[in-house]
Assembly symmetry: C2
DNA sequence: CGGAATCCAGCAGGATACTG
DNA sequence: CAGTATCCTGCTGGATTCCG
């Protein structure tokens, strides 16, 4: 009930923060934008990450509708992750933010500030 | 010491996540992109936010070098926040993400999924 | 191989109260 | 007006272990 109380939480700015808040979300989306990946392939690219954590992050992103989980019914199991249409639409903007991140890193270095 | 162990944490993807992780960062950056604002003005735009929380978020962003805090030595105090050059460079990318956020919200509604 | 179930620790965000 | 100082709480990420 009470659908009527539209708050700041419903605005796109906040929504984006919510959807991309996961510590590894950006990284995962980036890797999946390059190619569809199996669970373990993804994990290898995110080396410090335990599979439990990765699984949670993937579930989150899947829940938000950004990625698609495709399971092949076979033994041993094979699961592939890829971007949904929604996720794919996000990529160009993300890439442009990453370019900024690159500049930011250089700036930080030049400021001698970790 | 040991500057040599470059990890995934040093890549732009992860850096962006770190810098923008704050729950209100995106919102704050957006509002400041429209105009320089005083502390209270900003707080009014983020209605559910206590001043303590806002202060912390602002300190974060200032620490990352995204915003600039200008204090006018007078009574009562007056402090203005604005984007730094670094912060301003980020805005176009952010705006394009927000457009996506808008689409995302519509999509969510159409899926009847909050 | 991919994942679910627990458990745990850290920390970020928020509430409240005090300061110059 | 614009903060700090505490304190508290919930969540999120991570470690570990078990399952199909």
């Amino acid at each position: 009930m009470s659908e009527s109380n539209l708050t700041i939480q419903d605005c796109p700015y906040f929504t984006v923060q919510k959807v991309l808040a996961g510590k590894w979300s950006l990284l995962i989306l980036h890797f999946l934008s390059e190619s569809t990946l199996r669970f373990n392939e993804l994990q290898r690219k995110l080396d410090n990450l335990t599979h439990a954590t990765l699984a949670k992050q993937l579930k989150q992103l899947e829940g938000f509708g950004l990625i698609i989980r495709k399971e092949y019914p076979q033994v041993p199991p094979k699961v592939e992750y890829s971007l949904s249409d929604l996720g794919r639409k996000l990529i160009p903007s993300l890439e442009s933010i990453f370019v900024w991140g690159d500049e930011y890193l250089k700036y930080s270095v030049s400021k001698n500030k970790n």
